[in-house]
């Protein structure tokens, strides 16, 4: 090629590893720092906080939310949202209870599988409606939030399934530990890592970022936007299903209202974890750390003997702080670009 190279570009290629400024730009940084500070401060004041039992409780409490936040990240990255996850979790959790009540000897793996498929079916309904009717998923999933919850109500009625109905081995998933980690947490961590690799290292995963970054461009580019968005909802549903099964292992009672109100906590975890609410950026790992942070606050407050009533307010402050940090960073970035690459006039 004989194209004349004229130096109008003032950005020179950088080589090597990430510079300090690149690390500072990482979206997961604020949430990670917050988590570390919180844990360290709490542990200094109350050493029991980091005892094996303390750690175990911390992880157990965060497990369900980690799964949901990871799945939600996939959906939010495509510039969508799924508000029905709490209802999906509730349906699957009650379903799990019902299966064991009817057939206590059913293999646990099979039950997990059934739960995930059930969740995937519900999630794909969200995906189908969003993609086909071209209505914002906020509205569609607000609708299915009610529909799924109503189904759960109709199915469960006043009935609740208690842990006693379920096999001991199933409940033990939340009691026994491997490497100091409860088994259900381990399952969640593995799932999160798989999802993180999918989002970073696979073509369909990268397509999701492209779609959220600019849906019109993605269409012009030839990405099958509908199929990808549908898949994101489906996988998110399957993860909510998995979370539902694990919920039935972790908690004593599952009934008509199990998981209600979780949806906003999940979105909050993702936002705190650096996932941009309008798509295009944010990582599964960040959202998971966000979920852990939100759950850790509750434990920390107890450990620090702060009035537990402050917990939710602090969560609110965190969410707003996270959005503010994001906004300030992008404003500074835009200003830098304008002054550095804009006209010198």
């Amino acid at each position: 090629m004989s194209a004349p190279a004229i130096g109008t570009l003032n950005n020179s290629p950088k080589q090597g590893g990430k510079s300090a400024s690149a690390w500072l730009k990482l979206r997961e940084l604020p949430v990670t720092v917050a988590l570390v500070v919180l844990v360290v401060v709490t542990a200094v004041i109350n050493p029991l906080f980091l005892s094996p039992q303390g750690m175990k409780d911390l992880l157990l409490n965060a497990t369900i939310m980690m799964l949901l936040a990871a799945g939600q990240t996939m959906v939010i990255v495509t510039r969508n949202i799924d508000l029905s996850v709490g209802s999906i979790l509730g349906l699957v959790a009650f379903g799990t209870g019902s299966i064991f009540a009817a057939n206590p000897n059913m293999p646990i793996v099979l039950v997990v599988l059934i739960g995930m498929v059930f969740g995937a079916v519900l999630g794909s309904l969200n995906g189908l409606l969003t993609v086909w009717a071209k209505v914002p998923s906020l509205v569609i999933t607000l609708g299915t939030l009610y529909v799924f919850r109503g189904l759960n109500n109709a199915w469960a009625g006043p009935k609740q399934h208690f842990a006693g109905d379920r096999p001991q081995a199933f409940g033990n998933l939340s009691v026994n530990t491997v490497l100091g980690m409860p088994i259900i947490t381990l399952v969640a961590v593995i799932v999160v890592i798989i999802l993180a690799i999918f989002m970073i290292g696979s073509r369909p995963g990268r397509d999701l970022y492209a779609i959220g970054s600019d849906p019109e461009a993605a269409k012009l580019f030839g990405i099958n936007v509908s199929r990808r968005v549908f898949t994101a909802f489906l996988i998110n549903g399957a993860l909510a299903g998995l979370a539902g099964v694990l919920y039935a292992s972790r908690f004593n009672a599952v009934g008509a209202t199990t998981g209600s109100g979780l949806e906003l906590d999940v979105v909050a975890a993702a936002v705190v974890g650096g996932v941009a609410i309008f798509g295009g950026s944010g990582t599964v790992i960040g959202a998971t750390i966000g979920a852990i942070l939100l759950n850790t606050i509750t434990s920390s407050l107890t450990a620090l003997r702060v009035d537990k009533f402050w917990q939710q307010a602090i969560v609110g402050v965190l969410i707003i702080t996270a959005i503010l940090i994001d906004r300030l960073a992008s404003l500074r970035h835009a200003k830098n670009l304008r002054e550095k690459e804009g006209r010198n006039v």
Binding site: A5, S12, P13, R203, Y209
Partner: protein, 507 residues
């Protein structure tokens, strides 16, 4: 790619008699084009001639309602962009479609990122491949940086790198030079020629005849959604092409009327917005039409927005009849007698779901209020008066503007501003996206308004329009006014030189 095919070989791509409609609107009546390997074909036509629709058919974005389409002799019907890509067609749009959140390398390779042994994307290899492409193109660019905030020229280079990496047989460039400086254009041409020499077929769409004649082997002309003809560049003149495009001689379009130019109405003094434009000073007098000419991206619209107060200026003053306007306050600008017909009439000028009456009266909403409540009857009457004056075709004042045709929507925007009885009217690209017949009507109307003593500031990218309409031409380049020409000294060469040339002198 092989260097073999001469320009007179069989076509790589041919489209004949393509029809495309959107609802009742015919966007393309007879889309016909024939591209051969190893040539650069220009596609010329005015705005609204159907070029963009034709490009989108080639890209697989739209599928034509009728017509013959072959690629390398095989019958084709693209159902999606992916189909078009699979046939080796790459399209570079006027505004490149990159993903701002992804890295430069990923933007090039998305959907076909290189994989490592584990089947996962090899990000390092992808960056190396991208870097190699940029070396081939001879441009320095960091493949790891995010695409957010790249200049249009750099974005186009990424699109070209993408096309090269795809081994595209056909490369369509839709007005790639619209926002480029002279040196960037030369770099682009170098790349285009070397791609042609390597056997690719290139479709080049441009409004600039100097570029078309410098770069292209053949020229196809479209008008009003129809194919008009194809010429060899060597055997045709600019005048011939213009006649094909317009369908008549240019002079007939612009009835020059002598108007009495009065006192200064709008005065702009050393207006600047950091990083966008600086030191802009000019005056517009009653009855005068001042044109702001220049390339897309030269900062013309930005100047107008700052005058009107939509963007904040960082220094300088705007005065209307010697009254200084506050910075960043459009309502004060309206009160002072400025009207602004924006470029994107649908998105910026109208509220599609509101009725004709309410759209027309939107600028006067405070005037019609009594004790805070709007007097609907007065609102409708005013709207009816102005709709009649501008001959807006609508069955009722209550009809939502979304149901009107494009031309009538334009008239509603104009009516909305004329209803404020402004002393200064800023019009951004007055004839963008309308057909030749309505164009003449708009030009006549602007002349008439000036004749009644209105001061008019017109932003236009169409040279004939600038030369035909303006009493004074201000040419902008890279945020500065580079020439002030009066009606007699304004020649196409002078304007184009000022619009593109100043940077070359400096570098």
């Amino acid at each position: 790619m092989q260097v073999s095919t001469a320009p007179d070989s069989t076509p790589v791509l041919s489209l004949t008699g393509a029809l495309k409609t959107f609802g009742p609107v015919v966007a393309l009546a007879d889309g016909t084009i024939e591209l051969r390997a190893g040539e650069i074909l220009a596609l010329c036509g005015e705005n609204g001639a159907g070029k963009s629709t034709l490009v989108k058919i080639l890209a697989g974005v739209h599928s034509p309602d009728a017509g013959q389409f072959t690629v390398e002799g095989n019958q084709c019907s693209f159902k999606s962009v992916a189909d078009s890509k699979a046939m080796g067609i790459s399209v570079i749009y006027q505004e490149p479609t990159l993903f701002p959140d992804l890295s430069v390398a990923e933007n090039i390779f998305i959907g076909r990122q290189p994989k490592n042994r584990l089947g996962l994307i090899d990000h390092a290899l992808m960056r190396r491949n991208a870097a190699a492409l940029f070396v081939r193109l001879g441009v320095p660019m960091d493949p790891a940086r995010s695409a957010e905030g790249l200049s249009i020229a750099d974005q186009q280079l990424i699109e070209i790198a993408k096309a090269i990496s795809l081994d595209a047989k056909v490369l369509v460039m839709d007005e790639p030079t619209a926002a480029l400086s002279g040196s960037e254009v030369r770099r682009l041409f170098g790349v285009a020629r070397s791609l042609r020499d390597a056997g690719a077929a290139i479709l080049f769409i441009s409004h600039r005849f100097d570029e078309v004649f410098e770069l292209c082997d053949r020229i196809t002309v479209m008008r009003d959604g129809r194919y008009i003809g194809t010429h060899l560049t060597a055997t045709v003149s600019v005048e011939d092409i213009v006649r094909d495009m317009v369908g008549r001689d240019i002079d007939a379009l612009y009835p020059r009327t002598e108007t009495v130019i009065g006192e200064v109405v709008l005065s702009v003094d050393k207006l600047s917005r950091k990083g966008v434009f600086s030191n802009i000073s000019f005056e517009v007098r009653a009855g005068e039409i001042v044109a702001l000419a220049g390339l897309v991206g030269a900062g013309r619209t930005e100047v107008a927005r700052a005058i009107f107060g939509i963007d904040k200026s960082t220094s300088g003053h705007v005065t209307v009849h010697n009254t200084a306007l506050p910075v960043g306050n459009p309502r004060a600008a309206i009160a002072a007698g400025i009207g602004f017909v924006p470029e994107d009439r649908r998105k910026q000028g109208l509220v599609m779901d509101l009725s004709v009456a309410r759209n027309t009266a939107l600028t006067l909403r405070h005037k019609f209020s009594r004790f805070g409540l709007i007097n609907s009857r007065a609102e409708k009457q005013t709207a009816a008066t102005w709709s009649r004056k501008l001959q807006v075709k609508t069955s009722s004042m209550d009809q939502p503007v979304s149901t009107l045709s494009g031309g009538n929507q334009q008239k509603v925007v104009l009516a909305k501003w004329l209803a404020t009885e402004p002393q200064v009217l800023i019009i951004d690209e007055p004839t963008r996206g309308i057909d030749v017949g309505t164009k003449a009507e708009v030009h006549r109307l602007i002349n008439e308004l000036a004749g009644h003593g209105m001061a008019i500031l017109m932003i236009s990218s169409e040279l004939p329009e600038v030369l035909g309409m303006a009493d004074t031409v201000l040419v902008m380049h890279e945020g500065l006014i580079t020439a002030r020409l009066d009606r007699d000294s304004a020649s196409p060469e002078a304007v184009m030189h000022a619009a593109t040339g100043s940077k070359e002198k400096n570098s």
